[in-house]
Symmetry: C2
Subunit: 188 residues, 2 copies
């Protein structure tokens, strides 16, 4: 099994009223269900337009507890959009990592392991929708059609969603070890 | 996205003392965490030798709530072992389905949807270990080395593990619709 090492550059929580935008915090305790107080916290969540196989509002298992983006891929998105930077907060990310560029295509079932024994399990690619694009647009009012262009610019670059597999405390600047799942001989 | 239809041929629970072997029941309510009373029931579970990235006994997210095997693949395993049949109970399976032969390689994140709105989410391949082989061996005492041969015979044929994504009631002989996850354009 292939492994990789990355670094936690930022930890963020979406605890602002009626906004998916996150704000930076120096450290956090990850619980089963995610980050307490974050809008995505919960063992379960309500199905929305992302899960059309269930009626909207149905209580389903929450696999979108923690969203992670990579510094390198945000830089690529900014370049593609022609803006100076795209902040992870605007995408509602909970973690920003660097040193593992191809984060978005990390296979489901891969593990992200932190020094305290904390583990996240990758639940797959987070597909770009228009809302983060609208947030980027607000910061670059002179740029054209950023909101809609984000969906294409963020293709396979918008990061992943994870569930907390093993709870505990994480801190900015920690190393994270990535165990890359191999479907020919998958982790269990 | 590709879809397929299969049929529920048996529902089983592992509720016998200190045994992973399951027994047939005509219907069951799937809850968040799996089947109440089954040895694998729980939102969380203890890490074991299958999760060497965590210390044994650590409480981790339970992705192995429901195990599913396919009738066609059990038949292939029996042929390979040279025995008349391999029952799903001996493998500790919770569901036996027919009509979807390549169950074991169903991609993670695929959905199995039942008539009542119940949904399971595929958490990947269940890799064969020696214990089900020992159980098969007990039923065929005259066959040689069934226990160890099972690990090879069951390769990519031993079925999948799932988590309950949307709870509810399921019944034997129901149809199950399978939404096959495509990593190039994954379900969310």
């Amino acid at each position: 099994m292939k492994t990789s090492i990355a670094q936690v550059k930022a930890i963020m929580t979406a605890d602002q009223h009626e906004s998916f935008v996150t704000r930076r915090i120096p450290e956090v305790t990850l619980e089963f269900g995610g980050i307490k107080g974050d809008r995505h916290f919960g063992i379960t969540a309500k199905a929305d337009s992302r899960q059309p196989m269930y009626e909207k509002g149905t209580e389903i298992l929450n696999r979108r507890q923690i969203t992670i983006v990579s510094e390198e891929q945000l830089r690529d998105i900014a370049t593609e959009l022609g803006v100076s930077e795209v902040l992870p907060e605007w995408l509602g990310a909970n973690l920003l990592i660097s040193g593992f560029k191809d984060l978005t295509t990390l296979p489901m079932g891969s593990r992200l392991l932190f020094p305290n024994g904390v583990g996240l399990i990758c639940m797959g690619e987070n597909k770009p929708c228009i809302h983060p694009g609208e947030m980027i647009q607000q910061h670059y009012p002179s740029e054209e059609k950023v909101a809609t262009r984000f969906v294409k610019a963020g293709y396979k670059k918008r990061g992943i969603v994870c569930a907390v597999e093993c709870p505990g405390h994480i801190t900015v600047n920690e190393e994270v070890k990535i165990l890359i799942n191999d479907f020919s001989n998958p982790m269990q």
